[in-house]
């Protein structure tokens, strides 16, 4: 379970005397993003809209339990034991399973608001999640102008990357490092399943893991490029979702897509933060 300390490298106010949750007049709002792979929770303070706590747990087979766990963990980070959440908004594919939520909003609207909050001059959001990827065009206020989803196919999603990492015998963090130092080996299969066979074949014939990892990133970038036909990659582009957590991987995508991507430190929590912002409205 990651806390905001770990994510922000210790650079925030939770626990310190500046902690807004010590202020008894402060109002707190929570956002829950129940994704296919991970469940994320975020708490914001109502007036400043500052993100004061985040938590993450794996969704597994029990989204309801994961939601409860994430909420409990994020609450426990508030300095004041009597701090109470005024309103909770749930999002993500499991949003209808969060029994305590006051409202349910799609992850598209939440990612848009959350990304704008984290990257104030963002005009586009690219989110590569566990089992889908999204491209969202924003207006000046972080509202959704248009969007495109790829959710019918694993190619171009986090699932593809994690399958490939497993096939290469490495974890996600190593994957990013390897990909940055490789020259993309061309992977021709459009299908995630067939691409995996192709990669195993290429490994057997001696292609380095660096080149394969780079090739996999390029493969995903190609898929995203066709998505971007209708929603142009207008700068500034916020890169959110679990995949954006890894700085090397984010850089790889920037290079492969030939655009500048901004992956904020709280990238995986964009959805939960957006949900919390909606709760605060």
């Amino acid at each position: 379970m990651r806390t905001i300390h770990e994510t922000m490298g210790g650079k925030n106010s939770v626990g310190s005397s500046d902690d807004p949750s010590r202020n008894s007049n402060a109002l707190f709002f929570a956002g829950l993003d129940i994704g296919s792979t991970a469940t994320k929770a975020a708490i914001i303070e109502g007036t400043s809209k500052e993100v004061i706590a985040v938590a993450e747990t794996s969704t597994g087979w029990a989204p309801k339990k994961a939601a409860q766990k994430a909420l409990e963990e994020v609450l426990s980070q508030l300095a004041s034991p009597t701090a109470v959440i005024s309103r909770t908004v749930a999002t993500g594919y499991g949003r209808n399973m969060a029994s305590g939520a006051d409202k349910r909003v799609t992850e598209i609207s939440c990612h848009a608001l959350g990304a704008k909050h984290l990257v104030p001059d963002a005009m586009t959001v690219l989110d590569i999640g566990g089992q889908d990827s999204k491209l969202i065009a924003l207006d000046d206020h972080g509202n959704v102008r248009d969007f495109l989803m790829n959710d019918k196919c694993a190619a171009g999603t986090g699932r593809f990357i994690s399958n490939m990492a497993t096939a290469l015998g490495i974890d996600l963090d190593e994957f990013g490092v390897l990909a940055s130092s490789g020259t993309p080996a061309p992977i021709s299969s459009m299908c995630a399943v067939f691409a995996e066979s192709e990669v195993i074949g290429l490994t057997a014939s001696g292609t380095s893991r660096e080149d394969l990892a780079a090739g996999i990133v390029m493969s995903i970038a190609k898929r995203l490029t066709s998505l971007a036909g209708r929603i142009p990659l207008t700068p500034n582009i916020a890169f959110t979702g679990g995949t954006a957590r890894n700085a090397e991987l984010a850089n790889c995508f920037s290079k492969a897509l030939n655009v500048q991507l901004t992956a904020p430190p709280l990238a995986p929590f964009a959805g939960a933060i957006g949900a919390a912002l909606i709760a605060a409205k």
């Binding site: 594919y93 909003v105 799609t106 992850e107 598209i108 609207s109 509202n143 959704v144 102008r145 248009d146 969007f147 989803m149 959710d151 019918k152 209708r230």
Partner: protein, 376 residues
Amino acid sequence: MNYASIDKLTTRAEKNPLEVAEAKENGQKVFGFYCLYSPVEVALAAGGIAVTLCGTRNDPIPAAEKTLPRNLCPLIKSSFGFAIEDTCPYFKAADLIVADSTCDGKKKMFEQMAEIKPLHLMYLPHNQELDVTGPFWEGEVIRFKERVEQECGIEITDDMLREAIQLTNRESAALKGLMDLNQQSPAPISGMKMLEIVFKAGFFADKQESIEHLEAIIDEVGNAPKEKTQQGPRVIISGVPMGLGSHKVCQLIEDAGGVVVAFENCTGYKKTMKVDTDKAPVTALAEKYLATPCSIMSPNPGRIKLLDTMITDFAADAVVDLTWQACHTYNVEAENIRKFVQGEKNMPYLHIETDYSDADTEQLRVRIEAFLEMIG
């Protein structure tokens, strides 16, 4: 709100298969139609019954996939599945199937269907403006008329056609009156209910009767006290035909809080066009039917014109463009519609490509909910 006249139509519609079977026993000829390009007046003029044949359910599709490719429009597979499984009472009762060479998939499927039942294929030109297409299509209407004359053993005169045209014009007017009820705000009839009414009205053996039902609904709903309730975003569904069984997208939009105020498709508003009674009947029929703005026409300016008018008349907030998987014409045309709706009308637009199955319900739900959130 419950309207007695609507309940009456939907209940009465249950007896339709029996009525068609009875009429057949009494010697009437039954003509089965699939498409809005076919002039039903020709069959009616000859004293026949014109029934709409079904293609809106998922169940018959596995049977169809035995001889048709899987990668084919669900509407085509569904229609064919009903035919080979013999599960559509109207197909069963039909003496002649009337088909149009609209799209690639349909015209090739009809080759296989012709082995099951006598089938007359009308060859549709895919353009509405060239000098040759009008006369060519008129020739096809005449060829169809000759086939019906042969089937019924009578001659179809201009007067008989005029009488049939009078009836169908009344029906078009009644359908228009019904659908126009939703120009009100709030719209008095939900999209799902409207779909049910229009769908079931198409299965009546006796057009006179269905017209009376429709007129009763217009009367009751039109005169009902205007409710002051708040309604969600007003959505027009444009694109491919849909019906009971393939109503998934309409249902999802309304589940998510939107209201489908109109259908710019062959299930809905395209049924409201009139036949010109000032012209010679065969010419007038050919003209009216050729003008149907389906995406199989190239170009298809009529669709944008119709959508433009409907957006204004129904005070729409957004357009959802529905394409069945493997329907290439509507799929490619979606880009034109997007440019028109987003660019010229500055209005939210969502393109959905799907089939009849429930498999992608959740994915569609997210897109539709996000779309409605976007409209606010």
